[in-house]
């Protein structure tokens, strides 16, 4: 259809009504004036970056947060209008918006649909109101149910629901209850994450020590035992599979053909561009991020693509200004990071192995010109011997046991 290169777009909306107790994402409360300023800047960034990405076609768009659904629907329409105006967007592109219950209404959902959104990702986290309170969520399960029904009514056919397991004082039964309630609604996709107690969050203050105790093999006081967490994880897979959801990545489950294409791109290393505060990009085997200060971003400080696209000898031709800018950013530690061939191989493995179908030996050979055994003979052999890794035809993938201790296995693929 087109010989343009594939590209994914991620747009970050860093605003929330309040920050949840476990959240370490880049998000903050702000007022409506800031929303508009921010949307303006996103549009400027879209236009600027699109102007140097003519040889790319966007195949997915993902509006993530924060809470994108907090923005007035007019701003979302403006932003998506910008995407369509500046970028070449594939006709069957997957366009997702993240929403939180308590910020949705019919008007917003219709506006999303009119702007080309064809996938919703709703942050529910739990079907138990007490747990929602503990997490610091602003909504109840009943509010979510209403929102979900509304979305179906308007015609959304591709909906994801985010859930978190392993909450303080959560039992296996509690978790099963949440899963059952959610499955009753028959969403197309479910993301089920195990709680990560991140430094800098209120949860870390309360449960950080508990988490460390568990990590060192001790008994936690509030958090579920390691063994319980393992059970929760296995139970999730078993319950969801009964209802026709397949686990296609460590924490992601979908009905046939409803896997999130955008996220698969991250694990398969499809190039992507991030827009907005703190968002990350991978382009021409280079990783880079936008600044994480809102003030800086609103002043027009976002990472330019010049140094990435003008590679090789022509890089010198980009002029002193961008050279200097590149240098400066590198010393700030948030500069461009050109991945070496080895690092690309490492990523191929440690990202690809997150997927249930694993990594392809043929794909590895095609990408790097050497076979996978040549590069990773020892870990491949050892992990298979330990029953953590398996092979079937062209595919190498993590076993159930391997998934449970995947950090240990993935670490073995650093060269």
């Amino acid at each position: 259809m087109t010989d343009k290169k594939e590209l994914e777009l991620y747009l970050h909306i860093p605003f929330c009504i309040r920050k949840c107790n476990y959240c370490d994402f880049l998000s903050m409360p702000a007022d409506e004036g800031v929303y508009i300023q921010y949307a303006d800047m996103l549009l400027e960034e879209l236009k600027e970056k699109a102007s140097v990405c003519r040889e790319y076609q966007a195949i997915t768009v993902f509006l993530g947060g924060g809470t994108p659904s907090l923005l007035p629907e007019g701003q979302i329409s403006r932003i998506l209008g910008g995407v369509q105006e500046y970028f070449s967007l594939s006709p069957n592109a997957e366009v997702t918006i993240e929403c939180n219950p308590g910020t949705l209404d019919r008007q917003k959902l219709s506006a999303y649909q009119k702007s080309g959104v064809n996938r919703l990702s709703i942050g529910l986290q739990s079907a138990i109101n007490q747990e929602l309170g503990l997490l610091g969520r602003i909504h109840t399960f009943q509010q979510f149910e209403e929102n979900f029904a509304l979305a179906r009514d308007i015609g959304f056919q591709n909906i994801n629901i985010d859930l978190i397991s392993g909450l303080p004082r959560q039992t296996l039964r509690d978790w099963e209850y949440t899963l059952e309630k959610v499955m009753d609604l028959e969403p197309e996709h479910i993301s089920a994450y195990s709680l990560i107690v991140e430094p800098g969050t209120p949860f870390y203050e309360t449960y950080g020590e508990d988490e460390q105790r568990r990590e060192q093999g001790g008994h936690p006081q509030y958090l579920p035992e390691e063994e319980t967490e393992r059970d929760m994880y296995q139970r999730t897979k078993a319950l969801l599979e009964e209802k026709g959801y397949r686990r296609y990545e460590i924490s992601n489950y979908a009905r046939q053909g409803r896997e999130c294409r955008h996220n698969i791109g991250y694990w398969r290393r499809t190039p992507y561009l991030g827009f907005g505060l703190g968002s990350a990009s991978l382009l021409e085997e280079t990783r880079f991020s936008n600044p994480s200060s809102l003030k800086e971003y609103l002043e027009g400080n976002y990472t330019r693509l010049g140094p990435v696209l003008h590679k090789g000898p022509s890089a010198k031709g980009t002029g002193a200004a961008s050279e200097r800018e590149w240098q400066e950013r590198q010393t700030e530690g948030e500069g461009y990071w050109k991945l070496s061939r080895e690092q690309q191989m490492e990523e191929f493995m440690f990202l690809g192995l997150r997927m249930a179908e694993g990594v392809s030996k043929v794909g590895f050979q095609a990408a790097f010109g050497i076979n996978m055994e040549g590069a990773y003979g020892k870990p491949l052999q050892e992990f298979q011997k330990q029953g953590l890794l398996a092979q079937q035809g062209d595919a190498v993938f993590l076993t159930e046991e391997g998934i449970a201790v995947s950090n240990y296995v993935l670490g073995g693929f650093l060269l």
């Binding site: 991620y10 994450y193 195990s194 709680l195 990560i196 060192q216 093999g217 390691e226 063994e227 967490e229 393992r230 994880y233 460590i250 924490s251 996220n263 991250y266 694990w267 992507y272 991030g274 703190g278 968002s279 990350a280 990009s281 991978l282 990783r287 991020s289 990071w337 690092q343 490492e346 990523e347 440690f350 990202l351 997150r354 330990q386 998934i403 449970a404 201790v405 995947s406 950090n407 240990y408 993935l410 670490g411 650093l414």
Partner: protein, 604 residues
């Protein structure tokens, strides 16, 4: 310089209990005599090792030559030798004293005489030095100079009524000290016309000058071109340079003659040709006999030192050789461990000495080390009459062949204020001390004497003493031969594999307790694996303690999207970095840290 009047030279050192202000006084003397302007003056000029400044202690003796114009209008040359204050470094003190004619004894006006004060005074008197008491820190609100003066007279028997009362910190009455050095410390003897006879009291290796020999000229003279001979090693060489010690630099001069302190560089090829304590003479006109050396102290504490990276073994050997050059008390010989590979069994004066050497190897030579638990020399009497001096527990013969074992004992003197006597006696009791006596020095302070096994004090006796007396106890010890003892070898098994580097010798009465603590500590240090790891302490085939490192059942990063990838990489890299610092014991990866964490087991 050749014409220096011998009667105008004063060679002296400063001795004191640790923290009584020795180095501060040295600095003040240097400043007052104008050797350095105060702008050049850096706090504690003589402690020039980074480590010394950091720890606030003197490790190596340092020497400096200064000129003082006295009230009598004459110029005097002072050779000031700073000495370490810690019991581990008595050896260094002893070396420095041999180069001096007198000693300034610094006593803290608030704390009075401490265990090291006494030990140092006895050392100085052994060397026939005139001791000049100085009362320091009289600016402190708690200062009681009169009481301290009385104490010096009563306890040591030194005339102290006109001892200068100073504050080295503020510089108060420093002139009194300088004047008394001139008046009370004798000028050096010796005749410049006699055959050369010089005592080597230190040496160091300089990458430009080669071996630099520090010496005190007792008789005769030495200058560039003199062919010198080392009387003990027999090495001879032509002198390339002679000179004296400026502040932090070597200042060449024409010759050194009787009574002077200075340095010699010569065409010496091998660092081992110069032994501290040896006598230097003129090869063409040798003196009749070497000078008496001085009390040589042998290593008392031993441990294995291994490079973290096995390829650095030759570097570790080179570094140890260089350090040994001016630290004769450091001993080492190669050894091999199943767990740790190639390394050295090293001997030290004490635990502080061990720590200092370890830190110097790490900082000055950039080596990453793994150290095994320190031990002492045990005497193993075998049934066949053979006696083995055991420094490495792994070499202990089969128990069936052993008739009995002996361990080194020390006589310990502890000075403590009366309120803590009970606590300190308890401590000594726990450490298998045998009570000898208690004398009251004054109403509120007593001198406790105990006989104790050395292996009970090498770990953390100092720390325990300080914490149980809130810092009010001071301590000194000397070797007191060997005593028969019920000793056993405690082995540690990780996942059923014996780890040779973790074995140690312990008294049978404390074996259980130590074994239990070792297992607990190792449990904390060994990361979880995919399987369960038993950690056991055993005597022979009998397991006396056990802990288990639970198997890791879950280690997953739930989320990994566009913004998480760099972070994920960092996490994995950290994990990989950690693995590099592991030693393989069977199929268990043991962090190098674990081998050393067992050094500090006491949690009191």
């Amino acid at each position: 310089m050749a014409a220096t009047d011998q009667s105008k030279i004063r060679n002296f050192c400063i001795i004191a209990h640790i923290d009584h202000g020795k180095s501060t006084l040295a600095d003040r003397i240097i400043e007052k005599t104008g050797l350095l302007t105060s702008r050049e003056m850096q706090a504690q000029v003589l402690d020039n090792m980074e480590l010394e400044r950091e720890r606030g202690i003197t490790i190596k003796a340092q020497t400096v030559r200064i000129v003082y114009r006295a009230k009598d209008g004459e110029e005097y040359i002072f050779n000031l030798i700073d000495t370490p204050g810690h019991v581990d470094f008595n050896y260094e003190v002893s070396r420095s004293l041999a180069a001096c004619d007198g000693a300034i004894l610094v006593v803290d006006a608030a704390q009075g005489i401490e265990a090291q004060t006494l030990a140092n005074v006895y050392l100085a008197l052994d060397h026939d030095l005139d001791v000049l008491p100085v009362i320091n820190k009289i600016d402190l609100p708690s200062a009681e100079p009169d009481r301290v003066i009385e104490e010096i007279e009563d306890v040591i028997g030194l005339e102290a009524q006109d001892a200068p009362r100073i504050s080295a910190k503020t510089g108060l009455n420093i002139e009194d000290v300088l004047e008394q050095i001139v008046e009370k410390i004798p000028a050096p003897g010796g005749n410049p016309e006699n055959p050369l006879q010089a005592l080597i009291f230190d040496s160091l290796y300089d990458s430009y000058k080669g071996v630099i020999v520090f010496c005190r000229i007792k008789e005769g003279r030495v200058k560039v071109g003199t062919t010198i001979k080392m009387m003990a090693t027999g090495a001879s060489a032509d002198v390339v340079e002679v000179g004296y010690f400026g502040a932090g630099q070597f200042i060449p001069c024409e010759e050194l003659s009787a009574g002077m302190v200075g340095y010699i560089t010569a065409s010496l090829k091998n660092v081992r040709d110069t032994q501290v304590g040896d006598t230097v003479t003129d090869a063409d006109r040798p003196c009749s006999a070497p000078l008496p050396g001085y009390k040589k102290v042998n290593s008392m504490v031993f441990c294995g030192m291994y490079p973290a990276d096995g390829a650095k073994y030759p570097d570790l050997r080179d570094a140890l050789e260089k350090l040994q050059l001016n630290d004769a008390a450091l001993q080492f010989e190669p050894e091999t461990s199943i767990a740790l590979g190639f390394g050295f069994r090293c001997g030290f004066l004490g635990l502080l000495h061990l720590e200092i050497i370890q830190e110097r190897l790490e900082r000055e030579y950039g080596l990453d080390l793994v150290t095994t638990a320190p031990g002492v020399i045990y005497k193993v009497h075998k049934a066949n009459g053979e006696i083995i001096e055991l420094t490495n527990p792994s070499n202990l013969p089969d128990p069936a062949e052993i008739e009995y074992m002996e361990e080194p004992m020390v006589s310990a003197e502890i000075m403590v204020t009366s309120e803590y006597i009970g606590a300190i006696m308890d401590l000594c009791q726990e450490r298998r001390g045998i009570y000898i006596s208690m004398e009251y020095m004054e109403e509120t302070r007593a001198l406790l004497k105990y006989e104790m096994p050395l292996n009970e004090i090498i770990y953390d006796f100092f720390d325990a003493l300080k914490s149980r007396s809130r810092g009010y106890a001071s301590f000194d010890y000397e070797m007191k031969g060997y005593a028969r003892s019920e000793l056993v070898k405690l082995d540690i098994l990780i996942n059923k594999e014996e780890v040779d580097a973790l074995s140690f010798i312990v008294h049978s009465g404390t074996a259980y307790e130590r074994g239990r603590k070792m297992c607990e500590k190792l449990k904390e240090e060994i990361p979880r694996h995919l399987f369960e790891i038993p950690i056991q302490a055993a005597i022979g085939s009998k397991v006396i303690a056990r802990e288990t490192v639970k198997a890791m059942r879950k280690d997953v990063l739930a989320k990994c999207y566009g913004g998480d990838i760099s972070r994920k990489r960092k996490l994995l890299e950290k994990q990989k970095e950690g693995k590099k610092r592991m030693r393989q014991v069977g199929n268990v990866e043991v962090p190098q840290k674990a081998f050393m964490s067992v050094l500090k087991l006491d949690d009191r």
